[in-house]
Amino acid sequence: MNYHILSSIIFLPLLMAILLGVMRAPLKVLKAGAILSSLTTLLLVVRVIIDFNPKGGMQFMQNLPWIQNAGITYSVGLDALSLVLLTLIALLMPLLYLYMLKEHRKGYWYNMLLLQTGVTGAVLSLDLILFYLFWETMLLPIFVMIGKYGNGLRQYNSMKIVLMTILGSMSMLFSILYMGYIYFETTGAWSFSLYDLATIDLSTKSSIWLTAGFLLAFAIKIPLVGFHTWMAPAYGSAPTPAVVIMSAIMAKLGVYGIWRFGYGLFGGTLHYYTPTIITLALIGLLYYAIRAITEKNLRKMFAYSSGSHLSLIALGIFLSNIYAWGGSLYFIATHALASAGMFMMIGITYNRFRSVNIEQLGGIAQKAPIFTFFFAFFALCIAGLPGTGGFVAELLIIIGAFKSSFLVGILSATTMLSAMLYIFWMLQRTLFGASHNETKIADLTLKEIAMLTPLVVLLLLTGIMPSLFIPYLEPQLLGGF
């Protein structure tokens, strides 16, 4: 059972999509099928969590020959790092399906199924060609969802995200192929397996260039400051489920990539880029936050917010001590939960008011107290309030930063201030004050409460009792990467 479990988790949504497509399933069946597949994967992931051994390193591995001439294998596996992301994906999908329950466009549902396979596969792949394949697969549904179902300048914006991301993927592909070739030259056999390629002895110069190839892809995905101009337009145009996946999962995959492949393949040369990335991350932390202050569009504001926090996560990885690493890994999870909740609330805001422009909102608190509670709760989570998971993560990163150097410590502690600025002004203008329109709006429905409550509970649990979760991560963090 355990041998196939990861593959089942990866391919179940895709198979479901193919099956439903071949059947030309009517909308109701399609919805039921998608929900069924997401619930099944969630159950399987629960099973994986139960069987997971924190001290076991890479586990649940499956290795099958695939394209033997080129040494490409189908190999997947899971450790603490991928477990975090896998759990998030499995948890968010059913909630997103619940969110889009009334969605009647079939393509939307197919894209979500494909998206799940793409992101899950990227998280679990241990073969670089396989990873690359999934990495590109997850971009397709995003392209379609923004271009076809988005709003605003949707086609321009979807083109922009795809072109910029592909620029990164191409440089990564080049690095992958070149490494495979070197492996062939030194051993006489082709392989693209992570563990085989990690054994190559590279010259410093070529290693620096190859690392750059990977880092470019990840820097665009995160995005680090300077590689970010796709972000706000894409977040602004994308439909809510796509935004949630982009912010909660795909941006984190950039960080995941640095962790898995950066440390996995180039542990020796990565330090060459450490000063650059720490600088970019610290600039990004403040740059995005300050940019967010005057942003009027809520989706874009939280796109920048996401960029700011992702910069902090990236910073934590490069600080290379257990506090910062623990903080980054923890932040991946808690920020995903908080931003998923926030973007769902923004989606709900759009459904209610037909606008996500701050200037057209206001006075919601008088009319819809439950709405206000959830909205404010997720916003405060993003501001890193104690009692929510984000606080634990930020605290760990700040301590880790001070461990590494005083200056980095001070600059990373500004995260206490930066998020606060845009969050509290936003709350003031969105929820409170006098109402701009007299129309009555409905408070959250039971369905909406049901879809948001798991996020609230998890954010509180991660904030109040981190000791429930940290033991899953600690052995691997102590072991280094």
Binding site: T229, I290, F402
Partner: protein, 626 residues
């Protein structure tokens, strides 16, 4: 027991919140009141029982709820500690908190958000108790931030008015600036201890590991947190605006409890601060300066709650003088007495405001002493107490602080403190006489009746304001300074002959009486609002333009920077780079299109050029002999 004291308010807050969100329109006065006040009565009883035990000589209590985090050597527990310092704190916090809850039940009775109010109020109590009882600085910081959150929620309680939310934002943001310093201090402290544990006991035991310079930095950064929370210069500007919240909130949070957290923190870290007397002196100077500064502004304010807010800031200044000069127990003693009379003043002010149909300008009141007899008498007692008239509570605690300043040779601080004492009496009696004595304005008025639950707590607090000082009577007045002996804090020992102490006290009291007389002369009969007619008055009435200064120094540049990033850096530089590279390809493509023009003669030309180039290459480069 401590576990119950801290968790019960949180639980009742959560329960009330859930019930309230279930149906926000339902009137559940009895349910909310019994949940909100009931939980407080329980924890007050428990706290007083613990206090009694400890007075009988019981040892420090440690309890552990669960492990919070364990990552490498970063091991933090949700654990509580009640030593003598924290037990004093929670005793009066829960006791006065309960009284204010009862008062609030009357004050907020008809408010649609009654349930919400009690949920926030209990959330605050839980957070405050967490702050005080925390066994390690991280848990203290959690409480520290959560009291800030509850303060934000309560200041912005009437959220329909954008001004209130602005005030709430200001409070939260300035507090967070302080917290920014606090968390840096904690992080450096943790790193410097090199994994020797992070409970207060462990820090105290290993404090010698840290060199003097680092300790100075840590002490300074932690104090930045206190500046924010306890509204000291330069982070004080939120406190006057915080009066936008309902009056019980001001009484509980912005007078008796939360704002004193900074003083408590310094006392809690007294083992650290005694090592760095330079920072102590800095703290005392900030305190002295804040005390005087706030007193000057208070003398020109017209809003009853703002006068009290500035007076709170001023009294907090005294407390920081005490803890800065390493007289920790007299600082805590003043926290203790101040809680009684300041809560009483706010609650009295709230009663007046309700009676006057939400009028807050003291110059529009006047001659209320006949109609609001009980409020008048109790507020008079509190004003005597805050002015330092013996034998009321404030006399003993303020006297202890000034004696320390004098005896330890800090004459500048002592002078400021003494002057401020006189000024305090002046502006407090100015308020009291304007409200209760001065001739009333001509307009007819019908007072709003006050419920009993709003007036009876005043009596209890008046008793406290009268007698609370007796727990700290020092040798000069025939007492044993019970509170200082009980607290066992590492106080500086100062020696001053009894006769000098009497001289100092005499000076203070005569200054206070002078201020009182002056106030009566000016405001006892005919109260007139201060007019900004001279430059001097204009500057003070506009609070030295500090708000405007902050606005120009911080907010405006930040907003411009944000717009600059949006319109220039993002659009022109980052996007510009992309767009120009696209443009470059476009132009290039345009040029290539020209080549492919479909004309045979052009193609024949390319053909000729190509063949010629090839021939030249063959001949000159490769040396082919034709």
């Amino acid at each position: 027991m401590l576990n119950i004291i801290v968790t019960l308010p949180f639980l009742s807050s959560l329960l009330i919140a859930l019930i309230y969100l279930g149906n926000t329109n339902a009137k559940r006065f009895v349910l909310y009141t019994s949940l909100g006040i009931g939980s407080l009565v329980i924890i007050t009883t428990l706290s007083l029982m613990s206090l009694y035990d400890m007075m009988q000589g019981a040892a420090t209590i440690h309890t552990k709820l669960f492990e919070w985090i364990h990552l490498g050597d970063f091991q933090i527990e949700v654990a509580f500690m009640a030593d003598r310092l924290s037990i004093i704190m929670i005793s009066f916090i829960t006791f006065i908190g309960t009284l204010i809850h009862i008062y609030a039940a009357g004050y907020m009775k008809d408010d649609a958000g009654y349930g919400k109010f009690f949920s926030y109020f209990n959330l605050f109590m839980g957070s405050m108790l967490l702050l005080v009882l925390a066994d390690n600085p991280i848990m203290m910081f959690v409480g520290w931030e959560l009291v800030g959150l509850s303060s934000y929620l309560l200041i912005g309680f009437y959220h329909q008015d954008a001004a209130n939310i602005k005030a709430a934002n200001k409070a939260f943001m300035l507090n967070r600036v302080g917290d920014f310093g606090f968390i840096m201090g904690l992080s450096i402290l943790f790193i410097s201890l090199e994994g020797h544990g992070f409970s207060f006991d462990a820090i105290k035991a290993n404090i010698a590991l840290i060199d003097y310079q680092t300790l100075t930095l840590i002490g300074l950064l932690l104090f930045v947190g206190a500046m924010g929370k306890s509204a000291q210069i330069p982070l004080y500007v939120w406190l006057p605006d915080a009066m936008a919240g309902p009056t019980p909130v001001s009484a509980l949070i912005h007078a008796a409890t939360m704002v004193t957290a900074g003083v408590y923190m310094v006392a809690r870290f007294s083992f650290l601060y005694i090592q760095i007397p330079d920072i102590g002196l800095f703290i005392a100077s900030i305190g002295a300066f804040s005390a005087l500064f706030a007193a000057i502004i208070a003398s020109y304010q017209s809003d009853i709650k703002k006068i009290l807010a500035y007076s709170t800031m001023s009294q907090l200044g005294y407390m920081f003088i005490a803890v800065g000069l390493e007289s920790y127990s007299s600082g805590i003693f003043h926290v203790f007495t101040h809680a009684f009379f300041k809560a009483l003043l706010f609650m009295g002010a709230g009663a007046v405001i309700i009676a006057m149909h939400h009028e807050q300008n003291i110059f529009k009141m006047g001659a209320l002493r006949g109609e609001l007899k009980l409020t008048y008498i109790t507020m008079f007692i509190a004003t005597l107490a805050i002015s330092g008239i013996p034998p009321f509570a404030g006399f003993f605690s303020k006297d202890a602080i000034l004696v320390t300043a004098f005896a330890s040779g800090h004459y500048a601080i002592w002078t400021i403190g003494t002057l401020t004492a006189g000024l305090t009496a002046f502006y407090m009696f100015r308020m009291l006489f304007s409200v209760f004595h001065a001739r009333k304005s001509k307009a007819q008025r019908v007072l709003h009746p006050l419920p009993k639950c709003m007036t009876y707590p005043l009596i209890i607090l008046a008793i406290g304001s009268t007698f609370a000082g007796f727990v700290g009577v020092n040798g000069a007045y025939g007492g044993e300074n019970f509170i200082a002996h009980f607290l066992q804090l590492p106080d500086i020992s100062v020696h001053l002959s009894h006769s000098s102490e009497y001289m100092l006290a005499l000076l203070n009291v005569s200054l206070a009486l002078f201020g009182m007389t002056l106030a009566y002369k000016l405001y006892g009969h005919r109260a007139k609002e201060a007019q900004p007619d001279t430059l001097f008055k204009k500057v003070i009435i506009n609070k030295f333009y500090i708000d405007a200064l902050y606005e120009t120094l911080f907010m405006k540049p930040l907003l411009s920077l944000s717009r600059f990033i949006a319109t220039t850096v993002d659009m022109k530089i980052f996007d510009g780079f992309l767009n120009y590279s696209i443009l470059f390809y476009r132009v290039l493509a345009g040029q290539f299109i020209r080549l492919q023009n479909g004309k045979v003669r052009a193609y024949a030309l390319y053909f000729l050029l190509g063949v010629s180039a090839m021939s030249l290459f063959l001949i000159y480069k490769l040396g082919v002999n034709l």
